[in-house]
C-alpha cells in the first residue's frame, strides 16, 4: 500500500469526500498546506470550516474568491497557500452573471423571488456550486494544486451526479411543456393551449398554487438562451473530474462502521470510473501495539524496572492502566479485522493512511502542518 505523498504527487485536483463529521475539512486544509510548504501554489476550497480553522486560514467571511494565507514556513519555501470558503449563493450569482445574455436578463434572474429564496438552500446545489467553482479555478487560477473539500454526503454519487442533476433541472423540455404554455396562457386563459398542456397546467396550478407557479415559471424562463452554455459547462466539469490529474480521496472515521462507509464510497467511485488515490482513516484509537496480546504482565514490576519513581507506583494505577489499555485493545482488534477486509479489495497504488485521534483541536497552520506530516508519513 502506497503512502499519500506518492499517491497524490501527480495530481492537480484532489477531491476529498466522505460522510459528515470525519474531518474532511481538516484533511483538505492539511494537504494544501503541506503542498504549499513544498513549494507549490495550492488552494483549498472548503465548505464549512470550524471557526478557528477558518480564522487561521484567513476566512473571516463567506466569499467566492480565494485569499492568500500568510505563513513564514510556506513563503520560505517559495510556495503559496490560498483558501476559499464556498458560498453556493454567490457561486450561482457569479454563474448567472457569466452567462446572462444581457444586463436585463441578469437582473431579472437575480431579482426573482424564487431564485432568492432557494438557490442557497436547494438540495444538491452546494455540490454543484463546488464543482462549478473548482472548474473555474482549475482553468483560470494558475494553481499547481486544487483541493476540494466537499459537502458531507452518504453517497459519493450524490456529489458526482450534481452537474447532471442541474442539467436535468434546466432541461429544455420543461420549457416546451410547462413554462412556455404557462407564459403564453397566463393563469386564466388555459383554453388557448393544446389539451395536454392545458390539463397538466391546470392540475399543477391547483397543486402548487398559481402565484408560486408563476414565480417559478418566470424564474426558469429568465434562463432562456443560457441552456446551451450550461450544458457545455456541465460537460467540461465532468471532463475535469475524469481527468488523469484529478483524483479522489475518501476520508472516514477509524471505526468498523467508518471503514464500511469508506468501502461503499470506494466502490461507487470505481464504478463511475473516477481516479481513486486512497483512504484517510481519521481519528484512530488504534495503535499497532494495542492489538498484540500482552500475555501475563506485571505492570507494577514493569514500572519499577523502567525506573519510575516509587511514589508513582501502585496497584490501583496498574489496574487502571490495564483497564484503559483493554478498551483500546478491544476497539483495535475489531478495527484491524475490518481493515484487512478493506485492504484485500484495494489496488496497490492506493494510499491507506491512519491518523491517530488528535488530542487537541487543529486550528492553526502549525497544527495543520503537524497533521499533514502524519498524512505524508
Amino acid at each position: 500500500m502506497a503512502g499519500l505523498e506518492k499517491a497524490i504527487e501527480k495530481c492537480r485536483v484532489i477531491v476529498v469526500c466522505g460522510p459528515g463529521g470525519v474531518g474532511k475539512t481538516t484533511c483538505s486544509a492539511a494537504i494544501a498546506c503541506r503542498s504549499a510548504m513544498q513549494g507549490k501554489k495550492a488552494v483549498v476550497l472548503t465548505v464549512d470550516p470550524a471557526r478557528r480553522l477558518a480564522d487561521s486560514l484567513g476566512l473571516e467571511e463567506l466569499g467566492n474568491v480565494p485569499s492568500m494565507v500568510e505563513h513564514s514556513a510556506i513563503s520560505e519555501n517559495g510556495g503559496e497557500l490560498w483558501a476559499m470558503m464556498l458560498d453556493s449563493r454567490s457561486a450561482y450569482d457569479e454563474m448567472v452573471s457569466r452567462y446572462a445574455r444581457s444586463p436585463e436578463q441578469k437582473q431579472r434572474i437575480l431579482g426573482n423571488r424564487f431564485y432568492q429564496h432557494f438557490t442557497s438552500a436547494v438540495g444538491g446545489s452546494h455540490e454543484y456550486a463546488a464543482m462549478e467553482k473548482l472548474y473555474d479555478l482549475a482553468y483560470n487560477g494558475g494553481y499547481d494544486l486544487l483541493v476540494l473539500d466537499t459537502p458531507p454526503s452518504l453517497h459519493a454519487i450524490d456529489l458526482l451526479q450534481a452537474p447532471q442533476r442541474m442539467m436535468d433541472v434546466v432541461d429544455e423540455s420543461i420549457f416546451k411543456w410547462v413554462i412556455k404554455p404557462y407564459l403564453a396562457a397566463g393563469k386564466l386563459s388555459v383554453q388557448v393551449l393544446s389539451f395536454g398542456s392545458a390539463y397538466i397546467l391546470k392540475i399543477l396550478t391547483r397543486f402548487v398554487g398559481g402565484e408560486m407557479l408563476s414565480d417559478i415559471a418566470d424564474f426558469l424562463s429568465s434562463f432562456q438562451g443560457m441552456f446551451e452554455d450550461f450544458h457545455r459547462r456541465a460537460e467540461c466539469v465532468q471532463k475535469l473530474l475524469h481527468d488523469p490529474a484529478t483524483s479522489f480521496l475518501v476520508v472516514s472515521s477509524s471505526s468498523p462502521a467508518g471503514i464500511r462507509e469508506a468501502s461503499a464510497f470506494y466502490r461507487e467511485l470505481e464504478k463511475a470510473a473516477f481516479n481513486f488515490s486512497g483512504f484517510i482513516l481519521n481519528r484512530s484509537l488504534y495503535d499497532e501495539n494495542s492489538v498484540v496480546d500482552f500475555g501475563n504482565i506485571n505492570i507494577v514490576e514493569l514500572l519499577r524496572s523502567a525506573g519510575a519513581p516509587e511514589e508513582y507506583i501502585s496497584m490501583t494505577l496498574a489496574e487502571k492502566l490495564w483497564k484503559n489499555w483493554k478498551v483500546y485493545n478491544r476497539i483495535s482488534l475489531k478495527f484491524e479485522h475490518e481493515l484487512q477486509l478493506l485492504k484485500k479489495n484495494l489496488s496497490r497504488q492506493a494510499a491507506l493512511v491512519q491518523i491517530p485521534l488528535f488530542e487537541r483541536d487543529i486550528h492553526d497552520i502549525g497544527s495543520l502542518l503537524e497533521f499533514a506530516a502524519l498524512l505524508w508519513d
Binding site: 470525519v22 458531507p152 410547462v178 399543477l204 398554487g209 504482565i297 492502566l321 485521534l357 488530542e359
Partner: protein, 317 residues
Amino acid sequence: MKDIFNRRLLITMGKGGVGRSLVTAALVQCALKRGMKVLCVQMTSEDRLSPLLGCQKATSEVVETLPGLFMVNIQAMDALKEYAVMQVRLEFIYRLVFENRAVKYFIRAVPALKDLVVLGKILFHEKETDAAGKPLYDIIIVDAPPTGHGIFLLNIPSVMLSAVHSGPINREVRDMYKVLTDPTLTAVNFVSLPEEMPASETMGLYKKLLEEYHIPPGVLFINAVFPPMFNPREQDVVENLVAGKLRGDWRLRCLLKCAHMSIARHRLNRHYVELLRKKLPLDCIELPYVFADEMDSAVTGMLAEIMETEFAASGRT
C-alpha cells in the same frame, strides 16, 4: 429539567455524525417506558433507527415494530405522490400529470416542494385521531436530517408563507408554522459532541432556531463524552511518566501511551462540555463515549437509562 415528554412533537437536530439517531432511539425508549404510544419518524434512504431499537425495518408505511412503537421512513417522492393524489383525487390523473417527464424535472427543480410534503406528512400524523377522536399517537419523535438540511426543513413554512400568499400551499404552511412554533406542542432537542466544530455549530443552530425561526428548544444532549479513566493524581503520574520519556518494556510504553490518549481526550471533552453549558441556556444531559463494537439496542438502552436518571433527578418528570 423541563419535561419534554409532555409535548406532541420532538425533533432531534444536530450535525452529521454526532449521534442523532442514537439519541432519537434512546428518547423513543424513554417514551415507551412511560407507556406512551410513539410514532418514530425518519427521512433517510437508510434506516438507521431499527438496528438501534432492535426491531424490524421501517418502511414508507407506518408499521408497529414494537409494542406501542410505530415507525415510518418518509420518502419525499412517496409523500409527494400521496399528497398530490389527495389534492387531485385520482391516481390516474396523478400518473398522467406527475409522471410526465417534464413535470418530474419541474418538481425536482423545486426541491422545497419535496421537503414541504415531508414536513406536511409529519404534521398530518400529529393530527391523526382514532375513532374516539383521541390523538392516534401520544408523541411523535423525529430524527431530522443533518443540520443544514434540517434547518432548511424546519424553516420551510416561514419561507413559504413569505413567498406564497394564497392557495392550498399557503393554508397548509400556515398550519405547520403554528404547530412548529408552539412551545406546548413542539421541542427541538439538540445533539452535539464535546469538540470544537460540533460545539460551535450547535451554538449557531440554537441561535438560528430560537431567534430567527422561533422554534421552541428542548434539551441539549452532549454525546460521546470521554470518561475519566484516571483520577487527577493518577493523571499527573501518567503525564509525568510520559514526559519523562520512560525507557523500558514496549508493553509498558504502549500502556502509558493509551493512558495519555485517554487523559488528553477527556480534558479536551470537558472543556467543550463546560463551554456548551455556559453558552447555551438549555437543560443539558451528558452521554458517555460508548466503547462498543456495534451500536445496537443494548447501547440505546444504556443511554436511555442515563437519560431517565437525569430526567428524574429534576424531580419534575
